[in-house]
Subunit: 663 residues, 2 copies
Amino acid sequence: MFEIKAKDNRARVGVLKTNHGNIKTPNLMPVIHPKKQVIDVKECGADIVITNAYLIYKDPELKQKAIDKGLHNLINFNGPIMTDSGSFQLSVYGDIDITNKEIIEFQNLIKTDIGTSLDIPTAPFVNREKAEKDLKITLNRAKEAVDYKRSTNMGMALNSVVQGSTFLDLRRKCGAELTKLNADLYPIGAVVPLMESYNYADLVDIVMNSVAYLPDNKSRHLMGAGHPMVFSLCVAMGCDLFDSAAYVLYAEDDRLLSTRGTFKLENLKEMPCSCEVCSNYTPDELREMSKKERTKLIAKHNLYVSFAELRLIRQAIYDGNLMELVEERCRVHPQLLNAYRQLTNYYEDLEKYDPRSKKSAFFYTGPESLLRSEVKRHLKKLRKMPKKRDLVILPPSRKPYSKYLSGKLGEFYVYGSENEIDLDKTDFMVLDIPFGLIPLEIDEIYPLGQNESPKNRDADSLEFLKDILFEFIKYYDQVLIHSKIIKDLNIDLYDKHPQSNEIRYLKNDLKKIKAIADYQFGIGSGSALFSGDDINIEKSKKTGKIRHVFDGKVPIVNMRASDSYLILSKEGAKRLHAHMEYPKNRIVVNEDSVPFVRDGKSVFSKFVVDTDENIRTNDEVLIVSEDDKLLGFGKSLLSAHEIHDFNTGQAIKTRKGIKKEEE
Amino acid sequence: MFEIKAKDNRARVGVLKTNHGNIKTPNLMPVIHPKKQVIDVKECGADIVITNAYLIYKDPELKQKAIDKGLHNLINFNGPIMTDSGSFQLSVYGDIDITNKEIIEFQNLIKTDIGTSLDIPTAPFVNREKAEKDLKITLNRAKEAVDYKRSTNMGMALNSVVQGSTFLDLRRKCGAELTKLNADLYPIGAVVPLMESYNYADLVDIVMNSVAYLPDNKSRHLMGAGHPMVFSLCVAMGCDLFDSAAYVLYAEDDRLLSTRGTFKLENLKEMPCSCEVCSNYTPDELREMSKKERTKLIAKHNLYVSFAELRLIRQAIYDGNLMELVEERCRVHPQLLNAYRQLTNYYEDLEKYDPRSKKSAFFYTGPESLLRSEVKRHLKKLRKMPKKRDLVILPPSRKPYSKYLSGKLGEFYVYGSENEIDLDKTDFMVLDIPFGLIPLEIDEIYPLGQNESPKNRDADSLEFLKDILFEFIKYYDQVLIHSKIIKDLNIDLYDKHPQSNEIRYLKNDLKKIKAIADYQFGIGSGSALFSGDDINIEKSKKTGKIRHVFDGKVPIVNMRASDSYLILSKEGAKRLHAHMEYPKNRIVVNEDSVPFVRDGKSVFSKFVVDTDENIRTNDEVLIVSEDDKLLGFGKSLLSAHEIHDFNTGQAIKTRKGIKKEEE
């Protein structure tokens, strides 16, 4: 019931399918009080709402109406409705007079689209014993609910809530256990007290550990998160749904929500956003209104800004610049910045989900950018690349660096054993933020060529550059460092290389495409793809960039103009397959799919039996059978992790199938 | 014709008075094409517009109508209108067929509210000779226009444009020369090419040098700046007015303005803001519309976001957190971040204008925060404070630090000559970002007690703390550094002080108010104010904070709860006046004002003949006569600099006057 349409780091734009239609995620469910509805939330942009089944159950009149006419009729909303089970009341009052089974049954009876079992929302910072005891009940009830749903063949989708208080291992355990149940959605519960106390760093730890073992093919709802200032951060952690009672509670209290925090009407001289309320009224006019009228307008404003933020977030995921949005939003409060810095500790987890190539350039927004998964990914790959005897390190120029190099490179200081210059034994790299060292051969590929950073540098950037420099110095016999770098980084190095003048970067297209192949597909790919005496490289007349590579007249790869990655042709796929050992670059499909892939049909996740775990969204991949026969090749729409979890939807957009006779 | 209502750093909320009413600044003037008006800009929030007098002059029909019925009628706008003179056309076409005098005369004839002389917009990066030659003409024409206006007693207000290309000394010279002319408004010209090439760092240098010598009592218009992504940065540099043709030009090109940059409609899957256009249409719906209808809606969106940003900026100035808004906005593009980092070089200039106390807490948003004027101001003051023999440096706790200190302070490492602990000879300070070292006695005053920073620290913060620590170590015999700091900052210090256990911070209210007085009014103020055997300190029963200080029963000062600064009473003012030498803490008024101040009337800028140059907005000041007789005391509404420049409006809100017999 959930499909991924676009991704950025752990964030995804998805489609959630319900009995009352499909909705886009990330999205916000305004909380509807079953008895009093202040404004028409649909008019303000709501696609899905949430209400409380327990409150309806407890009110004889509401209950009867809900049973007779259905929930959608009761609250007058014809889109998808989620209901909560009374867990919140349980957490507040300590006890409620309904069983788990009863509330499940009732939710199904009144035709909720998505119902919730009666979990125990364990508050943050309780003792371990309490957290464990509560979790046991939560897990039992989740299982009971799923079993009951299955045995009665319920049409209602089911939430199973991740709990575990602030114990990260319990959160992970709960996620893993619930995953086994195969529920329909996975809310993350009991985080409201952390948000109320601005403890966003702990929120990051809890959410990241809650989602760690949750399946990627189910949507996740961060329960009680309704303030637009945290949406982007939470989406970046993989949350898909939010709910907001805040829009109306804050309105009743004359408080206006904003991505910059909360504004109290009493302090406002100016209206803070571009919505129709802010554009048409002044704070004085609002203050002079009746309480009722004012509450309505502020509630509308609160929803307008919330839905605008969610649209902006979805657009940022499509564009591949969500992290830049998060980095901007996190400046509005030091505790949010602290939380974002905390999130950078999870770069390995984020990297697993991050597409290889995106539409937007990578923007450096501050020291945190140096810790992004794209940077970590590049450095990890760079460490594994083959290394020559010597290394020349150049200062940054305009990008792509190799295009704007001057003929005379300047003066170089030498580190390590001073050798005779031998350009054949020399790697050339540029030292720059945020990617550290960028080999000139691969300086056009995403994001190494598609990024911007400020010229005025911070201390973290300088430290980062020094650290990378001194790390890579160790891998080479002789390292030649450009005088500008010596000066900028204040490096204690006094020996100029006597042959400084002889250092030239000799552009070589064959070396370039080999280096790109090695970086993209793994070491050895370059020589595997581009061996032969008749490798022809065709360039664009307009831009001078490499477009096609042939062996004689047989196409091997194309180079994509937007990100300079290589797109395989049939011959390229065969060569790669022949030389790179299983399971490198491979998607393995089951026996039944073999003829379809050979026919050029795209691959659905449920037919994938194995993958190279390094595959990421937008990677070019080989599609093989279980006995490693090459069936075709294509572009991955998901990361390896996600392909494993999904059993609906496409995994690989097949570019071409390979017939048996073509193998 | 310009008054300041609120301030933050160099930014100000002001009121610009025109023949067609008052408008709030910062504000945006949508450009109205005299022949085609796409939308009703007033409906979208415009209070003032700009149009081109030269285009009207050149079109016989428009010209006649403008002369007959007036400009306001011609473009159907009944608020203030500014006109440009044809300089832009001059810069594009090289030559135009009208003289400076003619265009001034024509603008006045058609009843423009604010007209412009025919300056030469010299492009960036021309050679010096060209820039100097152009500037000479610009200055001559500005003088000619002002002279002509005076001699003919024109009702029209007059712009004199600051030019000088990218030569910073020419910009300063131009500002200084134009200031002598006493024109009505000072636009800053020829910066559009810099904005078009994202060269915001040079824009910062040019604007800061252009405004450096401009008078504070005139509004400044950054010509051609119409993109909301730069508004906050430019307001922080002291710009009051912007103009936008962008709203319609971008709309015609299917581009949507946003504080996050520009969105091309073709790339949008979601509408990016909360305005009524974005809330009511999808990108697909816009794409399917007629070009005309779509342009209208996008132009509206462009104005809605622009005016929303200006409202938010004005609110931020009222709240005293404009720099936090700028720091957030500058994350949207690395060149903007670079520009903001460039702006931090001008901290001395910003500090001169920054109010001493503000409504909002100081938020750390990144390394740039360490370079803000508030931080520089504190460190400068701290260096001048009297120092005891020894210094104890503590790690941060909750704020105010002194309230949350534990009894046992922990282990201390010693730096310098190890002496016997003597608490009477010891200063106690907390080491924290962003303010470096905070003496415990003054830890409640703004902004030392009103700030937040992330716990996860960046390299600049650690370097900053180390630098401050090692600077202050030099001023003391023995410095005792808490073990936590040694660990956090990784300091090579191995000698624990054997008397670590005896180190206690002994709270002493008298010492505290003396320290605050010294910090606030200058060294010696504490003993001047609080000498006597019967100093009584009265605290709030609710908060435990100091509220009033008496000598016997005579009130000396109150302490303001919000920022812990001291408010003088009559006795306090007299003591301060008697002990602090001229012109410290003083506002000197002319002879005519003496009786009014003695009567408790507030002080207008034009009656001030001298000031202590260290006076800042919200400072408590002494009001004296030219022979330094104490006339009263009050709160400064402006900084010393501004008081000098203004000849209208209040400078000091007098708290109390002092009669001759009370002296």
